[in-house]
Symmetry: C2
Subunit: 504 residues, 2 copies
């Protein structure tokens, strides 16, 4: 028997939805509604178009924009072609975007204006990779996204689909100063979809407001799970309270990820009750959710433990999901005894294919036959898995991860800076804020405002230091690396993800 | 990266449960309780024992008994060895059991007394296959099931596990007069487990009373799903109301499949409230459940459509599950238009590997790249899938399928019978009862009681005719086969599964 007898693809799910739910809404964007039949037609056209632009197995398509139907239909079109779709963090600087363009070398680059347009244009000029086709999402007429899609061949072409090939790439994990693109396979996406249906009780009646960013696995895994369940994805570009209230009301949304601050603002905004939010039954919170949702990371396709899989779990990070196994390893690949801290490793169908174009890192991270997460954890006596923190220090600002090496590299590029380190200090609103400790070059003059502006111009604004302190030296551990514990003690650092004073 | 990074096995699930839920009860049988740690120890011993008896990849282990912990631990031990475990319908006759022994050629045959012991001994004498090791479940001492298990090597041996190999065999589909063993792969079992967790809301808190028979996929798929969720399986041998009431009470069971009649009896039996049934929250009914549970068959690993996946479905057989695709085919493998009847075909990870030792049937049933179910169905205008009935007429008695060819073959073997046909007639308690229409040989004498006794001695008692009518000829269609429609019209047949007057 052929393997296709036992293997389903995202296209199979889409075509089945077309039969099972012929008139059900799959997508809503800016008042336009698309049924599952519409969605399959669009995916067929997109796949045929991109194929004509050189997107075949293993090739990449880059999305440089905010939340959009283009992300879901783009992932589906890539799944048909054996290609990979990358929704990039639109809050990044031109330099950061150009790095990804050159790293990913996409055949097709989709972009829209909004808050990213200027950065995209600057990145396009900076990037060495010139062989991709740029398509402007907002452009009306035949050369824009919609025009090209409508002009493409609508035929269903038969293609052999390898579900174990990469399908989605999300850049993350910039511990070394530059991010790495975590690859998820189509089979991994399919498996995680069913897992998310289970943990979030998704059905074909679910109407999900895509208020979190598509470039984060926390939102994207739910977007794809809702698609798989036959529900509706309502796309909004950004988390603004007026847009959220209007979408929750107009589309009768049942599910959205909203941070507590946004919930409060929504409540105040709708004090007169002009929006009907009665269908909105869930506000799974991306920060408080750590205690509801379990442990995961992009590289393993999202969640691998669930807290509410067993509500009696005493650990906030929960128990292994039904489609993962998790072990705590020492440096030699031995499982450490319960109660001892080690590196979390995971196996299972959702675990990704490693990072794009990083064979050495991938070999190191899979050297024991498990995906080593670069996160520390502990198996508690009750069997639950507790996330202790990243192996390398990381700062959390809202939902964003900030890797000190990225910010320090930018600061060190300033001509007046001899040495630099950044730490996270507790922030009542954003979890943590970035503080830079700077050693100036002899006789060099530079102010804190100048250094902050230097970063603002070069890296994503949310990564720039909020405070700068000048020092005569950066403390080092005996082995040489920056002594972050000493810096935290001296400059008020704390509240890191996983730490005991981590507030969310 | 190695495939084991992305592939989980039943043993992975078991070992993860041992870590996540070290003291949780996995199994209860006759007051004895086994944790997940106990279960893994037992599975390791069983696998090592059976391996020493020749059970390697592709070999078979046959269970000739009623519900038992031996079924779950046997499937797990087989999954470790790449072997297949077959829980056989214990209501069958010696001749029927001997047929399966010779068809399956198991290396190990496990049996217990109860209501099957005498038939097993007779079958053992009848069977040609003499190369298996017989192990008596009830025997105390070192040669019995428990003695051998306790005497086996307890080591965890490292073995490469092919999850796509067969793991479970269930005999069914005796349309041709003899049953066929439907093979389910380990990957298929794993996929269906998560599906069942979703449809039945199984968690590690679920305590499932195994009141239905393990040789039916309807119960076994839930047993395995509860295992996968980390819940507890409570084993009882038979559906007797006193046993059920005691188990529901003592084990605080939350889930069981009980037919309406049993629920009524339970209610009467517990009129004085001496049993606390407060934890029992679900009575998914194996007959009425057809409208709750969707369409499936053993050969596709159980359910492939769910009715309550979308409660608005107008068809009683529901919409496709998230891990299956279903099409309605004509005889040439073309999809028929919505609203037209054709043969149901399925694809997806739960679809089995075909029938053991039946290459011609398997080739025919997969000739379009889909598993053809031998069932007729229709896609309704709202997209739901409606089961219309078996392609070949089948009689339903309680939860049992009765294939006319099996009964007719037995009747024709009587020396006084020239020709025979059986039909189902509506039965208010058992859905249908079997009626035989008999043409006697010239001058032969035989009574209805003699023919019923002839069947009772040779085939499972539930298959024997309840009524016999004598006729001068069996009507034939122009092409030659028995004209069942004419027989139904003449002798009161009706109420067949899927038919408009099907009462459950």
């Amino acid at each position: 028997m052929s393997d296709t007898l036992h293997t389903l693809t995202l296209l199979d799910v889409l075509q089945e939805h077309r039969r099972s739910h012929p008139n059900r809404t799959a997508l809503v964007q800016e008042g336009r509604r698309y049924t599952y039949a519409d969605l399959e037609d669009r995916v067929n056209r997109l796949a045929n178009l991109w194929e004509s632009l050189g997107v075949g197995p293993g090739e990449r398509v880059l999305w440089l924009g905010q939340n959009s139907l283009a992300v879901l239909e783009g992932i589906l079109a890539c799944s048909v072609l054996g290609a990979m779709f990358c929704p990039l963090n639109w809050r990044q600087s031109p330099d950061e975007i150009a790095f990804v363009i050159d790293d990913l070398q996409p055949r097709v680059l989709l972009w829209h204006e909004g808050e990213i347009g200027e950065a995209v244009k600057a990145a396009r000029a900076l990037a060495q990779w010139k062989q991709g086709t740029w398509i402007h999402f907002d452009e009306a007429g035949p050369d824009g996204y919609e025009g090209r899609l409508q002009g493409a061949d609508p035929a269903r072409r038969e293609r052999a689909i390898d579900v174990h090939a990469g399908c989605v790439i999300i850049y993350t994990a910039a511990f070394g100063g530059r991010p790495n693109g975590a690859i998820l396979s189509q089979a991994g996406v399919m498996a995680q979809n069913v897992n998310i249906m289970l943990v979030q009780a998704l059905t074909s009646g679910t109407i999900f407001l895509n208020s979190g960013p598509h470039f984060h696995i926390g939102t994207l895994m739910v977007t794809l799970g809702v698609f798989h369940a036959g529900g509706a994805n309502v796309m909004i570009r950004r988390t603004e309270v007026a847009v959220i209230a209007e979408a929750l009301h107009a589309e009768k949304c049942s599910l959205a990820f909203l941070v507590p601050k946004t919930i409060d603002e929504l409540h105040a905004f709708n004090a007169d009750g002009r929006y009907d939010l009665a269908h909105f039954r869930s506000a799974a919170l991306p920060t408080e959710d750590y205690s509801m949702m379990g442990y995961g990371q992009t590289e393993v396709g999202g969640l691998v433990t669930w807290a509410h899989y067993d509500r009696k779990a005493t650990s906030i990070f929960g128990r292994t999901s039904p489609i993962a196994v998790v072990r705590v390893f020492d440096e030699d690949g031995n499982e450490v005894p319960d109660g001892e801290v080690g590196e979390l490793g995971a196996r299972g169908p959702t675990v990704g294919l490693g990072y794009w174009n990083r064979p050495e890192i991938n070999a190191r991270r899979t050297r024991f036959g498990w995906w080593l997460t670069n996160d520390l954890g502990r198996r508690e006596p009750d069997g639950s898995i507790n996330f202790v923190g990243p192996k390398v220090q990381m700062i959390k600002s809202g939902v964003e991860n900030i890797y000190p090496a990225e910010v320090e590299g930018c600061l060190r590029s300033h001509p007046a800076v001899a040495d630099a380190a950044v730490i996270g200090v507790p922030d009542p609103r954003w979890i943590q804020s970035v503080k830079a400790i700077i050693v100036r070059k002899p006789d060099a003059e530079v102010t804190d405002a100048e250094l902050i502006e230097h970063c603002r111009a070069r890296i994503a604004s949310y990564k720039k230091p909020r405070w700068v302190e000048f020092a005569s030296a950066i403390p080092r551990t005996p082995a040489g690396p920056t002594d972050y514990a000493a810096l935290d003690a001296a400059y008020g650092g704390g509240g890191y993800p996983g730490g005991k004073d981590y507030k969310y």
